[in-house]
Symmetry: C2
Subunit: 548 residues, 2 copies
């Protein structure tokens, strides 16, 4: 059997390694356009920022090591120009000398990845505008920074790569401005959760232009001008363009493979394309969303690796199925961690999936043990069954742990009742006897079973101001004095029982505290005395962050 | 409704808080023998060691704050002397003045916890021998250390509390010796996994006497002598006795409640005891083991908290069930983390549960990003279905995360096939595209489906030495030179294909490398050439650690 693989990184290299482990006799050829295989795409920003100093660390394998260990014929700087399914061959160009050749295959795996989106804007080809995907791109940016000592950078795009670059360029001493077309960074999380990230970015000295489109670029005496809509401009010494990626699928298209969304390659759950003996994996393919069940693009390294392994399994006669992607992802942003899994509110709305949500704010570990910090957890669940649909967490320590627990719960089809019961490991340096994930479960079940009714920051503006409802703030005097929702009555939870007479029992009470915990207790007190009441999910803190 | 709760800490205080939230009108009385409620048992060792400096941090609530927030009548230094189920009352002694009174109840919750085992050994009452359970115990030890500036401590017992105390006393500058009756510390993990902990403890300057029983104590001129079996003695300035806990159930016993193992209180899944209207929770009760299904004792704070909440729910007319404990636990030991969930080999054997196991050694995050360290993961699974039965991890960064993911997987009834598929969040500072949990899944499935056969460190001594099998070490020259299994042939994996002629195809080959990964690849190469071969699970590294 002769297997040809196009693309030698996450999906392709993994497929090659697994293929060899399953079949010692197959002939395996990896064709890779760039000068490197098995490179650490995800580490590239950190090489630029200097956290990773050894450029050798960026490649996990070389063609030589791949040959030695796996007896795989890896050909870098070999670009596939065309796939000829009828002949079962590919046309390849040696980039070193421009010559081409045909390579036949019994089985073909496509793992060409995705390329940075580069819109056709005026001035887009200016030499100070960079995208980041390959090792070559990385060296280019690295060299530019070394040689030109830029002082100001504009990063277009507030997604993973944009923000990682913002952090790394800040580390290098540049003053960085992030421009984002949407009104938020990090689209895997909802706007309200992103607000905490916006505040943090500003705190770290990164300027943010949200809701701003880039309309073009022009040279400037002192660098490069980025032209935004509404006539604003930003002058900088360099621009990083990180507005997303688009599947690298012209080969697939020209070969007549069935395509999916946004030009991606359509595959079944065995990673087979529409043409026999051709498999495709990684950023280039359309996947089924594990939660919504609909087709989508989720360009991440974990799925690419898994899909590569599954394609190899199937080629070697096993039956291995990819059950979909759920978009588990995590970003380090200076000391902050932003993570998500499953669907967010936007995705739920688009998919027409009914959901309810709770926002909890819980310590990463026992508060009496030094170093704990709070994380904001938003959990989406099915309002009937309680099935967990998605989660987003913004915080510092321990965010990655909780998102992985929640990702596992979603995979298992668990409900918020199950989250209550999860027995997670506890010692003071690591968690609390009620872990943040348990806490999200408690809060959600209390909503599901009617123990408490809640309202959200976005409900506040619509609350009647005609005196027909009571707004109640249950925080301490100091907290209240630092800021509160207009028109709220102020009774700290610890004296609420004595002050009940001040609350009109015929009016619904909208209660808030700082995080939602004390106001939940207040709601239970009020309910016990016959009041109709509502708890502000996420509390004043979350409301205030979003409102800012 | 009048609810009386005996014990005001993890189970009791949580039950009280939840009761109040569910029933604003109930009369709730908490009777607590010690001078404190809602204290952080788990934080006590860190107060002694100075990591927690503020003694106020040790109590999450006071009787006053409990009254204000929850309208709960908390009576510290009130010890219950007897339960009278016929009268539905308890007899209480005020420890301040020794007077007693009767308190009636409609519902009674027992959460008296467990007390440190104090065997009846000669000299056991020496004033320099301490146990640690309450805040008072903590202050006693703290004061002793301040006033006497001890230089040497003996810690009897190598479990959680013993090792936490060993760490904290070391931080204070004491020279610490741990004495443990078993041949290993930390019984939630197996002997082979504990070997890594032993080596680390020695490295941290803690002396270990394993397999040593304490037979008594006697005063010595320069302190206190701990007498071990085999006539050895250890002289020190203080002794911490931490050889386990025993349920505090004399009240329950005297009241005629049905008891379980080791004098614990038997309860059903609603936390009801054998006598109507009496509930029991926490360290005092017997629980069903989530994995084995049999009754056991698992004295941990997470279960105690959950059970307290469940008892409160049921008392308030809800139907809430405790589905069992799985023993998820974690220990910080200097910079090391030791964690477990589900069952270990010992427990599987005792329960007569068939299992297979894999040992993997995987980086906490992408190795090209600074700061990664490896963790040893032992995963037990059902050899037919692949269901995950238990996991143990010893390592540094990210151990608590992986044990919690595995704990969630066990709760969900997941198999090792599911572990392969878990989509966990990945960015270089947090994990790898193949997370350690995925890796455990891959390795286990390869064993399950016959892709590789394995052998273990304990199989090595029994391997025939008559030349009928080949032992093959596939590491590099340097690694091999540093130590290897006697009688192994040495061929690095990367040149194995060229040296196949040196291996007799008629003999089974027992392959090893450092961690098990390269030897797995070697096994696949050998299998492809028709050899019958076996991979050393955990590799030379694990074998060598255990052998030492
Ligand atoms: C800067 C950066 C940071 C990232 N950070 C993360 C992260 O933290 N977490 C995460 O999950 N994901 C991250 N990703 C995404 C992750 O790298 C991708 O999801 C993953 O690499 C996709 O694997 P793939 O095999 O589909 O494509 P790639 O890994 O991109 O490999 C495709 C290869 O195919 C080659 N190729 C394309 N066309 C041809 C052709 N015609 N002939 C020959 N070769 C061809 C390309 O040169 C390329 O090397 C990051 C990506 C980048 C760029
Ligand atoms: C030093 C230490 C460290 C620990 N570390 C951890 C850890 O890291 N992780 C973990 O999960 N668990 C840990 N634990 C265990 C955890 O604290 C217990 O599992 C948990 O507290 C049990 O809760 P409980 O309510 O059953 O008992 P407790 O919390 O012990 O509360 C019982 C209370 O009842 C009172 N009482 C007993 N009898 C009577 C009576 N007759 N009348 C009135 N009052 C009475 C006692 O004074 C006591 O305050 C640790 C325990 C200790 C001592
Ligand atoms: C380097 C690369 C080729 C390695 O691929 P790989 O060999 O499949 O992956 P690993 O080295 O992690 O090894 C995993 C294999 O070892 C096995 N293994 C790991 N530890 C083991 C152990 N202790 N015992 C037995 N087997 C073990 C696993 O089961 C798996 O084998 P399988 O797939 O046959 O089941 C590939 O990961 C790569 O190119 N990565 C870089 C590109 C990339 O991923 N970029 C995006 C992220 S930055
Ligand atoms: C202090 C103590 C009395 C608090 O008990 P508690 O009020 O039940 O627990 P918490 O303060 O964590 O609050 C949890 C409650 O707040 C709710 N909650 C938490 N965050 C919330 C939010 N943002 N919005 C709404 N509700 C929230 C939870 O749903 C839960 O309520 P529920 O049980 O009615 O569902 C108890 O935990 C205790 O005594 N602890 C110390 C002893 C101990 O555990 N020792 C061993 C470990 S060291």
């Amino acid at each position: 059997m002769k297997v040809v693989i196009i693309g030698g990184v996450a999906g392709g290299a993994t497929a090659a390694a697994r293929l060899r482990r399953l079949d010692e006799n197959a002939q395996i050829i990896v064709l890779e356009r760039s000068g490197y295989v098995s490179y650490a795409n995800c580490g590239l920003p950190y090489y630029i920022g200097g956290t990773i100093q050894n450029e050798k660390a960026l490649t996990l394998q070389t063609p030589e090591s791949f040959k030695r260990r796996f007896n795989v014929d890896v050909r870098v700087q070999n670009e596939v120009l065309a796939i000829r399914p009828e002949q079962k061959s590919v046309t390849v160009r040696r980039l070193s000398d421009g010559t081409t050749y045909e390579e036949s295959y019994d089985k073909l795996i496509l793992s060409p990845g995705a390329k940075p989106v580069r819109p056709n804007l005026p001035g887009i080809n200016h030499e100070r505008i960079f995208t980041l995907r390959s090792v070559e791109d990385t060296f280019r940016i690295h060299r530019f920074v070394e040689e030109n000592a830029p002082k100001r950078a504009v990063v277009v795009g507030g997604g993973f790569i944009g923000l990682e670059m913002a952090e790394n360029l800040t580390h290098l001493g540049l003053s960085v401005t992030v421009v984002e077309r949407l009104n938020q960074v990090m689209s895997p999380i909802d706007y309200d959760m992103a607000c905490g990230v916006h505040a943090y970015l500003k705190d770290k000295g990164v300027s943010l232009f949200l809701g701003s489109s880039v309309e073009g670029f022009e040279p400037a005496d002192d660098g490069l001008r980025t032209i935004l809509d509404k006539g604003r401009t930003l002058t900088s010494d360099m621009v990083i363009l990180a507005i997303g990626v688009t599947p690298e699928t012209h080969l697939a298209k020209e070969a007549g493979l069935r395509l999916g969304q946004r030009g991606s390659i359509a595959v079944n759950d065995r990673m087979e394309t529409s043409i026999p003996d051709i498999y495709a994996v990684g950023d280039a393919v359309e996947v089924r969303h594990f939660v919504t069940g609909s087709e989508t693009l989720i360009p991440l390294a974990g799925p690419a690796n898994k899909q590569g392994r599954i394609a190899a399994d199937n080629i070697c006669g096993r039956d291995s199925r990819y059950k979909g992607s759920q978009g588990s992802s995590v970003l380090k942003l200076f000391d902050m961690t932003v993570a998500a899994t499953g669907i967010n509110e936007d995705a739920a709305k688009k998919a027409g999936i009914e959901y309810d949500k709770v926002i909890t704010f819980t310590a990463s570990h026992a508060t009496y043990y030094p170093g704990a910090s709070n994380m904001t957890v938003k959990t989406l669940f099915d309002p009937q069954s309680g099935k967990v649909l998605g989660a987003q967490i913004v915080g510092f320590e321990g965010v990655d742990k909780r998102i992985d627990v929640l990702a596992t719960a979603i995979r298992a089809g668990m409900t918020v009742y199950d989250l209550e019961e999860l027995e997670l490991s506890y010692a003071p340096p690591y968690s609390s006897a009620k872990d943040p994930v348990n806490m999200a479960g408690f809060a959600a079940v209390n909503v599901l079973d009617g123990t408490v009714k809640q309202y959200h920051w976005h409900d506040v503006p619509a609350l009647p101001k005609d005196g027909s409802v009571t707004l109640l703030d249950t925080r301490t005097d100091e907290e209240y004095a630092r800021g509160h929702i207009d028109g709220t009555l102020h009774i700290p939870v610890d004296v609420l029982r004595e002050h009940l007479s001040e609350l009109d029992p015929s009016k619904p009470v909208y209660v808030n505290c700082q995080s939602g915990l004390r106001s939940y207790i207040a709601c239970r007190i009020l309910s016990g005395h016959g009041y109709d009441c509502y708890n502000l999910s996420g509390g004043w803190r979350f409301y205030d962050l979003v409102k800012q």
